[in-house]
Symmetry: C2
Subunit: 423 residues, 2 copies
């Protein structure tokens, strides 16, 4: 009888032994097959996934859609999805305790939610700006669409890479100019050439996403304020701070939003999704801070009941100190272990992880593997859902993937999978 | 000791007896005071309500907003709110059984819902039109706004009275023409003068609401089809069927939607709220049926994730036969007792109840009372929330209120209150 210990010795010896054991050889072949080409079944799943992804356009299908359309996939980690899962726990905890167990859910689902202005009033204290500066949105995408259709004119300047809604959803008579961030400099934003470009091309709208999606690049607060001073002549400055809760400049994990600067810069429109930091993408909640006459102009044209009852409940929570104190703990905890996760990924061979101040990391493959290969392999073999950036303007197709940080055990699982595959 | 029976005899006698009992007299005085002027406390509450109503613009504040802003009010019936409460019961029943108790709520709230097209696919079977004809909306108001801003040109023709979004949310360069429905003929829609007006004024968009809000007037299916034939030269015909589930032409409670006619009439855009018939205003769900190139034109400009996770779950239910069979029972039950409610109201002295095929009734006061008086009295004395139509274009201010049908016991409560007040 061969004990575990003796088998290990046998294997160790076997590496240098032409007469190595048949069982060890067989296991190596199987192992190589695992790391190598996909099996016919795996390939078939990968093809179905690619088809679904192509049909979803420039946004990835959600994990529930994926699970429904390809039920054979065993999804274990949704690292495509950019949200703090600990914050989702917190929201669900409040919802169960205060709404479901108390029988108050009916009220949220049966009746019309409050009108936009009433919800803005509630938000005002939490954000620290007067309600007339606030426009409440059914997710940030609704706000982006509203701004692009109502305020943007003939020319918009968008950095690349970017969140695609900023060039996809412009009016058909708006020309999109792209400012390509330098890959060789980790896609860092440089104000000098940017301002030169603005002066030269005279766009009526410029878009800054901070931290930027999909690379996580961050523009410090002081730089941004200086930039806004220089951009005073541009009619519309959109600043998307949807990932700002994950960015910290100092050691104290504090983040610095520019929402308080809108009265100084009347051309500034600050867009904020609540899906990422609060982990509630399914309830569709976002807001914008902009000059009161802009808010009024949007409200004059609709957006009356664009929040749902649950979104209103979320905004109620967001204005409560007890919720915010607990949320702050979740936020810091998430940032801490996300940083460790990104660090560990950056040390993997065969890839370059771009520096990030968001809750995701942009990875460039620097081996023979394509992004689609890696994403399919992670998905069909490990049940890890990540995202190729093949559809992202400004990124070389085939080489980039974006990986989100999830909860700690999920991140560990993702790291193990990367280690196995990238070896 | 005076028994109940002897007291009744005493009172009966008392009416014709100058020496009537002191206790009876006292009770009559109190009763008259109850029916008469509001007490200072009641007046103060009424003033706060009027202020809130004025601040809410041309839409009434929701009952939860009312309860929050004036907590001293004891709200018992929300007869301002146009929805089938039995359908709300049904939805909540499914939600608790299938989502909350099974722990699936997290999935609906954490993740992005499916994209617009995916939800349209699900809806397609239930509505009986191909998915490419379907645009899914965050409530009907979002769809109305989208149509008015994307397709309507220089001139829109709107019947009066109407749902105010159709004139409020037009673009600033759109001229609104009003076709006033004749009050003396119960606001009945007459195709002949309407078509003459259309030929003369050449609007690019016409709006028909069927049944109409706020009067509940109904245009039969055959009349509508004939009308659509005559309106083929108009670029945009908006048909709002948000209340169609409450309208029946025959004795079998079947309703007849024109959603299947959009391929015959490419200028037709059918708008449908799900808030009224399914009693789920708080989840914001609606859809439109329109030519595929129109749907595409809207989707090219956004509306990607405009449904919430709960709205998607509702649309899932809506496409399931088991749910629809149960819903059908709730619908018929609600229509049956709503009709009895409207009939009873129409027999009250001092008012005229307009004939309705919706789940509400427009009431014109034909006594010395003003609509605001009646609404305030119902609210502060009985906790019944109804709506004046003082803000409705095309209705003489001060004389009209709209009363929704609720569940049977609530309707009985409303009837008793009307009987007491209108006596």
């Amino acid at each position: 009888m061969i004990t575990q210990r003796s088998r290990e010795q046998q294997l160790k010896v076997g590496k240098f032994d032409l007469g190595m054991s048949a069982r060890w050889l067989e296991s190596r072949v199987r192992h190589t097959a695992r790391r190598g080409a996909l099996s016919p079944r795996e390939s078939a799943l990968a093809e179905r996934f690619k088809l679904l992804k192509r049909e979803a356009g420039s946004h990835s299908p959600s994990a529930p859609t994926l699970a429904r359309m390809i039920p054979e996939l065993r999804l274990r980690v949704d690292a495509c999805f950019l949200s703090n899962p600990y914050a989702t726990d917190l929201f669900l905890d409040y919802l169960h305790r205060e709404v479901i167990r108390t029988g108050k859910l009916r009220r949220l689902l049966e009746f019309y939610p409050s009108q936009n202005r009433v919800i803005a009033d509630k938000l005002s204290g939490a954000i620290g700006v007067p309600a007339e500066y606030l426009f409440v949105g059914n997710g940030a995408v609704e706000i982006i669409q509203a701004i692009l259709h109502r305020f943007t004119g003939a020319k918009i300047l968008v950095n690349l890479p970017t969140f695609s809604a900023y060039h996809e959803f412009v009016r058909s008579d708006t020309q999109v100019l792209y400012n390509v961030l330098p890959r060789e400099n980790d896609f860092r934003f440089d104000p000098k050439p940017y301002l030169e470009r603005v002066r030269r091309e005279k766009p009526d709208t410029v878009v800054l996403i901070n931290p930027n999606n999909p690379d996580g690049g961050y523009i410090p607060y002081a730089t941004l304020v200086h930039l806004l001073e220089e951009l005073r002549h541009v009619p519309n400055v959109i600043l998307d701070e949807s990932f700002i809760h994950f960015a910290c400049e100092g050691d104290d994990y504090a983040y610095r939003s520019l929402s308080g600067e809108v009265d100084r810069f009347p051309n500034l429109m600050l867009v904020k999704s609540m899906s990422k930091d609060f982990g509630v993408a399914g309830i569709r909640a976002g807001y914008a801070v902009m000059a009161p006459q802009r808010v009024q102009s949007l409200l004059n044209n609709g957006y009356l009941w664009n929040s749902s009852g649950l979104a209103e409940y979320f905004f109620d929570l967001y204005s409560r100190p007890d919720f915010l104190i607990e949320y702050e703990r979740k936020r810091v905890h998430y940032i801490r272990h996300s940083r460790r996760f990104f660090k560990a990924l950056s040390l993997m061979p065969g890839l370059h992880a771009y520096p990030t101040c968001a809750n995701f990391v942009l990875i460039e493959l620097r081996n023979e593997m394509t992004a689609e290969d890696l994403v399919c392999r992670l998905l069909v073999r490990r049940g890890i859902y990540t995202r190729t950036c093949d559809d992202k303007k400004g990124l070389e197709p085939g080489k980039f993937i974006r990986v989100a940080s999830r909860c700690r055990s999920e991140n560990r699982f993702v790291l193990r999978a990367f280690r196995d595959i990238m070896r």
